[in-house]
Subunit: 307 residues, 2 copies
């Protein structure tokens, strides 16, 4: 991957739908995934292996992974909070698992019922188990609350570096820094990316940003400036922030793709086709508010900057 190419991972089917008030039917999910793939989206987080009692929206993840793996040649991500989930992901045919590790101790306990470094141990177990399997599966870790926590407030940078270092030592393939509640700012993103990269090098691969305070794309720009070339985003900003009712969810895939392509970076995603996938979402899942500026304003006829 050259520095001109940016990978946009669509996490709406997981991070978006898990916050949705309605449950998207399995066949609608699969048709949506197909449209995302048709638009050139090469990485999709399709679901999570978490208790269906807690997150009923993800109850069909196994079926989704099995179906999507039939046509996705790569980039089929599933969230798995523990070894059991990772094993299920592997069995179903996922290409990668993303394991959440909350930098905030309190958020970690609330989210995974384990302390932060207990969860790092879980990641190590997942890496070791996965390496013993014949079929390869990528293991990434997502450092949740890396830019602030609604429970603990500010998160010390040294703590983020410690957690990321532990994850790198555990052998993960990639680390994502996640602004879980969307309280980060561009200066903080730059500082944090620099510090974590100094500790773990290229194992830091990705930013997972929320747009709670409207700074999502500015934070993405700060990450780009620091050399980050992988970003999570959610179509129509689907989802929300559990700690800020009414606030938006992940950064909007369509807007992020527009920004990147208009800057002369290349995502491999066709924005018009992406808007068709959004139109499908609007019709097939009309209970959820769809966000995003490009959708409101319309895609300009020419927006791609010469590379």
């Amino acid at each position: 991957m050259t520095s001109n190419e940016v990978s946009v991972c669509e996490v709406g089917p997981r991070d978006g739908l898990q916050m949705a008030s309605a449950i998207m039917p399995t066949d609608v999910k699969l048709r949506w995934l197909r449209r995302l793939g048709a638009a050139g989206v090469r990485e999709i987080e399709v679901g999570s292996f978490v208790p269906p009692k807690l997150v009923p929206q993800m109850a069909d993840t196994e079926e989704i992974v099995r179906a999507a793996s039939q046509w996705m040649p790569e980039g089929l991500y599933v969230l798995a909070p523990n070894l059991k989930g990772a094993q299920r992901a592997h069995a179903a045919g996922a290409h990668a698992v993303i394991v959440p590790v909350s930098v905030s101790e309190r958020h970690s306990q609330a989210n995974t019922r384990k302390g932060t470094f207990e969860q790092v141990d879980e990641v190590r177990a997942i890496v070791e188990w996965t390496r013993a399997q014949t079929r390869r599966m990528r293991v990434d870790a997502g450092c949740a609350t890396a830019f602030g926590c609604s429970m603990e407030g500010a998160i010390p940078l040294a703590r983020v570096v410690d957690v990321a270092s532990g994850l790198a030592q555990a052998g993960v393939d990639g680390i994502a820094l996640a602004d879980t509640v969307g309280y980060g700012n561009p200066a903080q993103v730059r500082e944090c990316v620099r510090a974590v990269r100094a500790a773990v090098g290229p194992t830091l691969t990705k930013l997972h940003l929320h747009d709670t305070m409207g700074l999502g794309l500015a934070n993405a720009l700060a990450g780009l400036d620091e050399g980050i070339r992988e970003f999570d985003a959610s179509m129509a900003g689907l989802g929300g922030c559990p700690f800020a009712p009414g606030a938006s969810g992940n950064i909007v895939t369509e807007d992020l793709v527009f920004m990147l392509e208009s800057m002369g970076l290349r995502t491999g995603i066709d924005l018009e086709a992406l808007m068709e996938a959004r139109a499908f979402l609007r019709e097939a899942f009309s209970s959820e508010p769809l966000r995003g500026s490009v959708a409101l304003a319309g895609v300009p006829k020419t927006y791609r900057r010469a590379a």
Copy 2:
């Protein structure tokens, strides 16, 4: 002004209200301006001297300027498209006029019924007339459509530099680069700021950004990186884009202030007091949609980064 200080000019009373479907009563405008001042907003574009038949929302500008100049010690901006408007602004007590000059020839004809360089001549006449007056008044020029035009499409960078150079030679105190339709991207902002500054030096002072495609704050960040320390913004993103129905207007003042303050920059604006001014707007001008992420999510208890 040190590099840590950023000036945010509230343009909602002009750029926002001129696009509003309703006309804000004069007394409501004045009470809103007072609340903006109470929040620490030190620069406000309070109206424009344009034909009331075309822009009835601005018909009371003279009265507004006279009243606001009683309590604003500085920073009272008015938009004036021509010498006559600048003279009216001066007579009413404005501290500064901003003269629009469209870089796009077609937009210039549509907006001011003059070609771009005819309008540069008008600016020169304004500068000369103003210098001859006893009471000083700042003359700024706003380079409209500097980042793209809904009529002409892409605007060549060399054209922006030519227009800015002409304005600097005309003797303006400051030049703002305006993304009138909101089609700019961060790479373009950086490139344009660098090129214009190379031509006119510190006479380039400000960015005027719209959030049409959702890139407004990312574009502001790009400007900050290039040393820009003055930005226009509109409370609640009031207004819109005449060329993209449904699209948002200027970048949202509250969100911009949040971004700047959280990055450790200083605006002199109290965000909580700013939210009170917004609450006043919501009650006193309920016909207009109010935008902004910070308002939806709520102001976090601690957000200011140590300077």
